[in-house]
């Protein structure tokens, strides 16, 4: 019964997110507030269903459901949806939903298509602390990605305004100030949750494996990347950077951070390889 519910929800989730994406796209194009309200409600519905799905799965299989790529994809979709929803509610601005729901929808579609709900996983990963570590890490990465996308939007809109072009981007996106504010929330949330995720990773290693830090390239690079991002954030805050400079920093900061992690993940195959 429970497994059937899990499988049904696995199909339902992309449908919910897909429909929310369509509504956000219509809202972006027509700017009819009713569409925005419905899109937001549907997104909240999707998030609730997704949460139930993750909890049900965790209870049924007795592990935190982030043990393989496709489960991680679903978690990224969930985290992105949650972070975006919070930013949208804080700013009462839903015109950027189209871009994030596209990401959420794509990740969930790939996850739903290839995920195997068979409960096979490494026993090491059944530890709840690993789940929390991964959850916060992915939440942090999603938030930083959201911040980078806001930076990109700022950049695009600023370019349109500067060039006196009044097309779909000009019409559809909120003001530059709003984009900047939304991006700031994303990057701060990302910095905090990613920091927490990395710290919990070290704590988990200490509890399970007996050491707090290991000279594993992935760990070293992740730590350095996070510290660099945090220092960058401090510099931005202290110097009061805003506008184009901030948006460029948010975008390139994330790209460099992500590239560093990707490079060590592709090249290295040590500590973080779970089978």
């Amino acid at each position: 019964m429970m497994i059937q519910a899990i499988k049904a929800t696995n199909v339902l989730l992309p449908l919910l997110y897909g429909l929310a994406f369509v509504l956000y796209a219509l809202y972006f194009n027509t700017r009819q507030s009713e569409l925005g309200k419905w899109a937001s409600k549907l997104l909240l519905g999707g998030i609730v269903v997704h949460l139930v799905y993750l909890v049900t799965k965790g209870i049924y299989f007795q592990y935190f459901p982030i043990t393989n790529s496709f489960e991680s994809f679903s978690m990224i979709a969930f985290d992105t949806a949650v972070i975006y929803y919070i930013i949208e509610r804080l700013n009462k601005e839903g015109k950027t939903g189209l871009f994030f729901l596209a990401i959420v929808f794509l990740f969930q579609v790939v996850s739903s298509m290839f995920i195997e709900n068979n409960g096979i996983h490494s026993g090491l990963l059944a530890n709840p602390m690993f789940g929390i570590h991964t959850f916060f890490t992915l939440l942090g990465l999603s938030s930083l990605a959201i911040s980078a996308v806001y930076g990109l939007m700022y950049w695009m809109l600023a370019k349109e305004i500067k060039a006196h072009r009044f097309g779909a981007i000009y019409e559809g996106l909120p003001s530059l100030e709003m984009l900047e504010g939304m991006g700031r929330v994303g990057s701060l949330a990302g910095l905090v949750t990613l920091g927490l995720g990395i710290f919990l990773g070290h704590l988990w290693a200490y509890k399970i494996l007996g050491y707090f830090f290991k000279a594993d390239p992935k760990i070293v690079i992740s730590d350095i990347a996070w510290i660099s991002y945090a220092v960058g954030w401090l510099v931005v805050w202290r110097r009061g950077l805003s506008g184009l400079r901030l948006s460029r920093w948010a975008f390139w900061g994330f790209i460099l951070f992500f590239m560093a992690i990707m490079v060590v993940n592709i090249l290295g195959n040590t500590f973080h390889s779970f089978t």
Partner: protein, 435 residues
């Protein structure tokens, strides 16, 4: 209601010069006096009357059973009250009847008839006319409903189409641009370089969206002080422009200067000192007062008057594209009003109801034709007529009152027709006539 017609007589930018429009324009008090004169004078045959008066139009809406005399009555009122002989002017008033008049009012409320397509103010002016009807103390059921529907049509057009969106004036276009950069203006500083009419208009629009901090920079002391006082602004001379540029978030330049007041070198310096904060600069001057090279700086969004004119042209084009949609919405409201109007036509129902009762009366009387003496039969006939008359008295009275009080609609009329099978009666009568 039977012979009453809704009539529109009006002057607007489409059929009258500014001089005529100014001459026929009425203040609310005078408009009320016109209404009183119309409805209190039986010779005018005006049952109901309303007036819309703005700087671009003065329109009269009447309900009357003698529409042919309304124009003369109106002209005589203008002659009497304004000493204005409208027959001597070149302008010919636009006269519309019934559905055309209704359609026209809805189009006016929707902004379709405005000089600037989709203009917003007209809806509040239609509301003012409606308020005038209400405050007049007269019972104007048809116009009351008509104006309610017009306001609904106007709101529907504004909510469901982009007909009224996008700035169509230079000052509003500047404000609209600023709104794409900043989301709120309470803490934003607006620097007005120049203290002329254009910058005053800009200040009005910025104030309307929440701006409270203004700086007025102008060469002439008196003018800058005057504008600064109006908007609780800081007044500075042009010598202190650089300092003001450091603080400002929006700069509007509208002066008569023949050379650049703000050049590239100045702004390069300013931007560094501003820690690269974004700045919107709108140069409405002709010739331009801001060096176009300034736009090379990443953080500066520079617009001149030509750019703003393009914004306005694009907005107007977009508005024009919304006309068919707006017309569809208006047609829907018009249909609702027509349906309601027709439902008020209770005369056929009353006549059919009376016919139904009389038919029964006659059928029953016929049973006594050869059974009673002539005199007795006459008594019976009198009695039956009197009973039918009394039976019908309250239904007919109530129907008329409900119609006048706008409490009647098509569904209620239909119920009466169904209860008494009036549709069948009508069909039978038609067949009888054919045979």
């Amino acid at each position: 209601m039977q012979n009453n017609q809704i009539v529109h007589i009006g002057y607007s930018h489409k059929n009258a010069s500014v001089a005529v429009r100014d001459a026929v324009s009425l203040s609310p008090d005078v408009a009320l006096a016109f209404i009183e004169a119309g409805v209190n004078n039986p010779a005018s045959a005006i049952q109901e009357m309303a007036v819309i008066t703005t700087c671009n139009r003065t329109e009269f809406y009447f309900v009357s059973n003698r529409p042919e005399i309304l124009k003369d009555w109106l002209f005589s009122e203008y002659q009497l009250r304004h000493h204005l002989d409208l027959s001597q002017t070149d302008a010919v008033p636009l006269i519309l009847f019934n559905e055309d008049a209704v359609d026209h009012l809805f189009a006016v409320a929707g902004g379709l008839e405005s000089m600037v397509l989709g203009e917003n103010q007209i809806l509040s002016q239609v509301k003012s006319s409606y308020d005038l009807i209400l405050s007049s103390g007269y019972q104007f059921p048809l116009l009351n409903r008509l104006f309610q529907e017009a306001i609904r049509a106007g709101k529907s057009v504004r909510t469901n189409t982009a007909l009224c969106q996008g700035a169509v004036s230079i000052s509003l276009a500047a404000v609209e641009l600023a709104r794409k950069i900043y989301s709120s203006f309470e803490k934003r500083k607006i620097l007005l370089v120049g203290a002329g009419e254009t910058n005053e208009l800009v200040a009005i629009h910025f104030k309307a969206i929440g701006a409270t901090q203004f700086i007025v920079a102008n060469r002439g002391v008196e003018k800058r002080q005057k504008l600064a006082e109006k908007y609780a602004a800081k007044a500075i001379s042009l010598d202190h422009l650089e300092d003001a540029l450091l603080e400002a978030d929006v700069v509007i330049v509208a002066t008569g200067s023949q050379h650049y007041l703000i050049d590239f070198a100045l702004m390069q310096r300013v931007i560094k000192l501003r820690n690269h904060r974004s700045l919107l600069m709108v140069d409405i001057s002709s010739p331009r007062n801001v060096d176009p090279a300034v736009s090379k700086l990443d953080e500066i969004f520079l617009y001149d008057i030509d750019h703003l004119k393009n914004v306005i042209a694009e907005n107007l084009e977009k508005r024009r594209g919304e006309i068919p949609h707006a017309k569809e919405l208006i047609a829907t409201v018009n249909k609702d009003y027509s349906t309601w109007l027709k439902s008020l036509d209770v005369v056929p129902t009353i006549s059919k109801l009376a016919g139904y009762f009389n038919q029964i009366r006659q059928q029953e009387l016929e049973k006594f034709v050869n059974k009673t003496e002539d005199r007795e039969f006459e008594h019976l006939e009198q009695l039956s007529k009197s009973i039918v008359k009394k039976l019908l008295h309250y239904p007919i009275l109530n129907l008329r009152e409900m119609a006048n009080g706008q409490k009647l609609d098509m569904s209620k009329i239909n119920t009466i027709w169904e209860i008494f099978r009036l549709f069948e009666l009508e069909e039978r009568n038609k067949e009888d006539k054919t045979n």
